[in-house]
């Protein structure tokens, strides 16, 4: 049986990695991720966790080393934030293209310049097109659980997974977390299946140059070209939506907790209006929804847990019949709108009916967001305001 402990999301992430019996950890310190790396280092040094811990000299090397370790057959873990994640950018593509089942904790932080160490989600959102799965957590329990789910998922589909959670808001806030026993985790997550093919030194060339068109192999079998491999990555990421749901269900069978798969709903049964958001901000949106319900407005919340793959048809199903939808997100695709709003609107394009939509960029660089503000903006949307806005910008 598990045990409830009062811990931060960073500690929850470190505990999860340990419970998943990771074999190689490589990480470079960056605020607010640092406690994850420190706690794992201590576990390895004390012998509590049997793993190789690589103290790399950069985030690029952190990801490069875990990719390589995974390629020779190890279960691997790393963690980063903000500029560190951006420094990994090349390796993010490389990891996904290599089809290695890495799980990485991404502690969301605003991106410099200018420097901020505080939270928004610009860092991970800007890495959405790298071929990784992105899951956004709303509390520390979900962080712990999602890392465990993440390994199951990554190893099943051979695609790396980012487990994203808000810096400081979650990473440094202590809350009660049910830490499962090793036995429970072992029942859910089997020992790492070594698919490296590295045995006895059988020659191979991993990730070589490839042509645009298929080419005959040594055994005269036509092998895929670059585009086929890219297609397979896209196919498997899209198909993972169903696997995410089934992994979450199986998780629930073992641990008694479910996180809603790709999307979660709050008071949506009778709602006329929805608020859509991600991460801890989405939790805050439930408070705003309650405030509005107290005023007699039927508002619910749809939390986007999985951003990549984007649960487009589910989004459409949840939102298309509503009167209005208000998006709040801590990111922006400069020159257009917030990323979640953009994607959700694209998903709604196919629907026969569509809600009126407004989208808000909020809370960048740790700017405080109060439920009253969210409620007010939602009321504006319900009152007919549409388009793209920035909340609480004084100019």
């Amino acid at each position: 049986m598990g045990q409830v402990e009062i811990i931060t999301a960073n500690t929850a992430a470190a505990f999860a990695a340990k419970l998943c019996r990771v074999q190689v950890i490589s990480a470079y310190p960056i605020t607010p991720q640092t406690p994850v790396t420190e706690e794992l280092a201590e576990m390895v040094e004390s012998g509590a966790l049997q793993a190789e811990y690589i103290t790399v000299e950069s985030e690029h090397s952190a990801l490069a080393s875990v990719v390589a370790a995974s390629q020779v057959g190890a279960r691997v873990f790393t963690a980063t934030s903000a500029n560190g994640l951006l420094y990994m950018h090349e390796m993010l593509h490389w990891a996904a293209g290599s089809r290695v089942p890495i799980v990485m904790a991404c502690v969301n932080r605003g991106v410099g310049a200018p420097w901020t160490i505080l939270n928004d989600q610009q860092d991970t959102i800007s890495q959405r097109d790298t071929g990784w799965l992105q899951i956004y957590c709303r509390n520390s329990q979900e962080v712990l659980d999602t890392i465990i789910q993440g390994f199951r998922l990554a190893e099943q589909i051979q695609i790396p997974v980012m487990v994203c959670y808000d810096g400081f808001v979650l990473s440094h806030a202590s809350t009660p977390v049910d830490v499962p026993s090793q036995d429970e985790v072992d029942r859910f997550l089997p020992r790492f299946l070594d698919r490296s093919g590295i045995n006895g030194g059988t020659p191979m060339n991993v990730n070589p140059l490839i042509l645009s068109d298929p080419r005959l192999g040594p055994d005269d079998k036509l092998m895929p070209g670059y585009m086929e491999f890219r297609f397979m990555l896209q196919r498997d990421i899209l198909n993972s939506l169903q696997i995410i749901e089934s992994v979450d269900r199986e998780f629930s069978d073992v641990f008694g907790r479910s996180w809603g798969g790709s999307l979660w709903k709050y008071k949506m049964e009778d709602a006329d209006h929805a608020i859509v958001s991600m991460g801890s901000l989405a939790s805050e949106c439930t408070i705003a929804a309650d405030m509005l319900r107290d005023r007699g407005v039927k508002v619910g919340v749809v939390g986007v847990r999985v951003y990549r793959p984007f649960p487009a048809s589910q989004i459409s199903e949840y939102l298309s019949h509503l009167k209005t939808v208000t998006f709040f997100e801590k990111d922006v695709s400069y020159g257009f709108h917030g990323a979640v709003a953009m994607d959700a609107k694209a998903a709604l394009y196919e629907s026969a009916s569509r809600p009126s939509v407004s989208s808000y960029v909020v809370g960048l660089g740790g700017r405080d967001v109060r439920p009253e503000q969210l409620a007010e903006a939602t009321i504006n949307c319900i009152g007919g305001s549409t388009g793209h806005h920035w909340l609480d910008v004084r100019n």
Partner: protein, 89 residues
């Protein structure tokens, strides 16, 4: 992922002639004068210095012309001038 379906990882297997018959690259072809290449005091320098490893180490020496790129190092380095580069393939 089924192990039988198309591979999802790009992993090459070893085989000869990856770049095709690279002998087609040649503009000059080495020819060994086996009279000059004495087996008794043979040096094997051509075998040693051939970047592509297409010269045999057994006597009489043979060059795999299917793959020899015609760089001419063997002819240049042969201390007995037993290898000559002839124009053409």
């Amino acid at each position: 992922m089924s192990e039988n379906s198309a591979p999802i990882k790009t992993i090459s297997k070893p085989a000869k002639g990856e770049a095709g018959k690279t002998g087609d690259w040649r503009s000059q072809t080495p020819r060994i004068d086996h009279q000059k290449c004495s087996q008794k005091d043979s040096c094997l320098l051509c075998w040693l210095y051939c970047p592509d490893g297409v010269i045999s180490s057994n006597f009489p020496l043979q060059i795999d012309l299917t793959y020899c790129k015609g760089c001419g190092i063997c002819a240049e380095e042969c201390p007995r001038k037993a290898i000559e580069m002839i124009d053409g393939r």
